[in-house]
Symmetry: C2
Subunit: 342 residues, 2 copies
DNA sequence: CTGTTAGCGCGTTCAT
DNA sequence: ATGAACGCGCTAACAG
């Protein structure tokens, strides 16, 4: 059997190809790179054949070392198990590949120390740009990185970090949710969010909610964070007499999961006793009760756009930091059909 | 504003540190590496300080180039949006980090051409080992890689590739499912699977199912692939008179999703008209109808084990290829409570 | 068009 | 215990 513990598994190198083809390394390099035009057909053919026969693959490490261009993009994700992150990541990766870049993803598991380590790691691998979807503690590391390469924030802003940012138009999302609920006859809305924890998108959604509720005389609203005794709090909301039908508004997919779980625990009928609209549109939304109405985020587009921002910067764009806000898409299902207003 | 289009963003290098500390590069190298013991305290301290002041980070590309050890593990995933893959990947990544390795994940989106490109990519970045969770077409590339580095298969075997393999004990999983269904009083079981498509785990599950059904006089069974007119086929199964209560057995999480969707489309009551047990245990299983009974895969453990296999090989283990089979865990929910037999 | 040369940042002999 | 010199695989000048 092979012994892989040997540090260097002797791979075929550019020199091997050159000798096999009877040319210089430079010619092989030109063939590999974008200078193939400078080669005579005869030599090009010989090199091509040598590469095929030897199964040569250029060593990207060496290339990167020499050129300073690794064609690597890094992405820092707070929670890889969150479907939103996955979906965005998928969008980023597709865009990367379309432009000849590769994506290195690091998951922090919402842990600050891991964030620090991963940032160091990405830096040590000479990535050319970074997409960040975390809380961004460790400002020091982030600042260093920002000095060395372009950086794009996704979904969550990092306080004081002046970077491009792409995410959801949160005020608009809240507006769409409330307009829909009001139209459907709901009057009393409970916004359910994960603990803010410094996450800008959560904070924005709650702030928009409160501002807009104040502007809508038809509606009353309150806010509840998931956490201890969450189900009891929901139950209390449901049992409190109010001036009209009640609905829950989940600020993201995780909140929707927690919330639905709680409603079942309480023994609530889905969704006759209470309406529900949720941000994100997960696979299982249609399967619960009469189906959960969603405000889908265009995650694929968000990811693609994040990469495009990076690419622009890599190509020299030095304009002021931009904000790109995407609009959500309303997907109506049974959970907001309880009380028809039209 | 900065201009990142400049190829080489001048980063602080080992030489900078050496000069700043008034020592040689070799000493810095020793400090960085595992030879710190060879340094006098005085010099070590000066280097440490210089590193801190300059914010020096060793360049992994250069290290990898020189030592032939990149501390990089590659993982090839067929479908990054499949929760199973994510969960396993999380396990792998955690194990990697615990041993000082980093994980580079490539998603093929079930596309053969992308598989080929990603394999070439991983190879070009000098990964030290590879974890594969795809169909493994492109045997040529895989064989080359296998010659250069250890390789571990996850969930799906690749025909003719003699590698370590870690996954679920499929016969046992089927056994547990059928035993549970039988105990609960179900007599007529429909196995729902995604199209085989050469996926070994799917084939094994179906084969085990058919073999075991033949061994159980109490049960009758049949198999259905998801796809065109799937809902109609399910409906037909439900409407066909049988000798006892009916149940569906979904061979994985995706099948469970498709299946549940179909049942709702048909207007089936979940789960009074039919029982359901599904492999994998996804977030939303508890939320559908009376909850879906699951055979959870220990995904975290599978991922961790896959990495450990790799590590063993990297450390020189040259034994014959091993198979590691994990047992699933039964999680009972309402979907199999329709007909109590005990 | 092609080959020669000199590094990229680092680890590793060798000396000392 | 420390430093000088060489080379990992490759690209980018510069010659020819």
């Amino acid at each position: 059997m092979n012994d892989f513990s040997a540090a260097q598994r002797s791979r075929v190198t550019m020199l091997d190809v050159a000798e096999h083809a009877g040319v210089s390394k430079a010619s092989v390099s030109r063939f590999i790179g974008d200078d193939r035009a400078l080669l005579s057909d005869a030599i090009a053919r010989r090199i091509e054949q040598a590469i095929a026969e030897l199964g040569y693959r250029p060593n990207q490490m060496a290339r990167g070392l020499k050129r300073g261009r690794t064609r690597l993009i890094g992405m820092l994700v707070a929670d890889i198990r969150n479907p939103y992150s996955i979906a965005v990541m998928h969008g980023v990766e597709t865009a990367c590949r379309a432009h000849g870049y590769s994506l290195v993803v690091c998951n922090t598991d919402r842990d600050d120390e891991q964030e620090r380590q991963h940032l160091a790691l990405l830096r040590s691998y000479n990535i050319e740009g970074l997409i960040v979807n975390t809380l961004g503690h460790h400002r020091a590391e982030l600042d260093e990185l920002k000095r060395e390469m372009p950086l794009v924030l996704v979904d969550r802003k990092v306080e004081g970090l002046d970077s491009d940012m792409v995410g959801l138009n949160n005020p608009q999302a809240v507006e769409m949710a409330l307009a829909h609920l009001e139209r459907r006859g709901y009057r009393n809305v409970l916004l359910v969010t994960e603990p803010y924890d410094g996450t800008s998108s959560r904070i924005e959604r709650v702030a928009s909610f409160q501002a807009q509720i104040a502007q809508r005389p038809e509606l009353t609203g309150s806010v509840l964070e998931t956490g201890d005794a969450f189900a009891q709090h929901v139950e209390h909301f449901l049992n409190t007499p109010a001036d009209g039908p009640k609905a829950l508004f989940c600020a993201n997919g995780v909140a929707a999961l927690t919330c639905t779980r709680a409603l079942r625990e309480i023994g609530c009928r889905l969704f006759e006793d209470v309406g529900l609209i949720a941000l994100d549109d997960l696979d299982w939304y249609p399967l619960v009760g009469s189906g959960i109405t969603a405000l889908a985020q265009p995650t694929e587009a968000i990811g693609a756009r994040a990469f495009e921002c990076l690419l622009k910067r890599l190509r020299g764009d030095a304009e002021a930091a931009r904000n790109v806000d995407f609009a959500p898409v309303l997907v109506e299902r049974g959970s907001t059909h309880g009380f028809r207003g039209d």
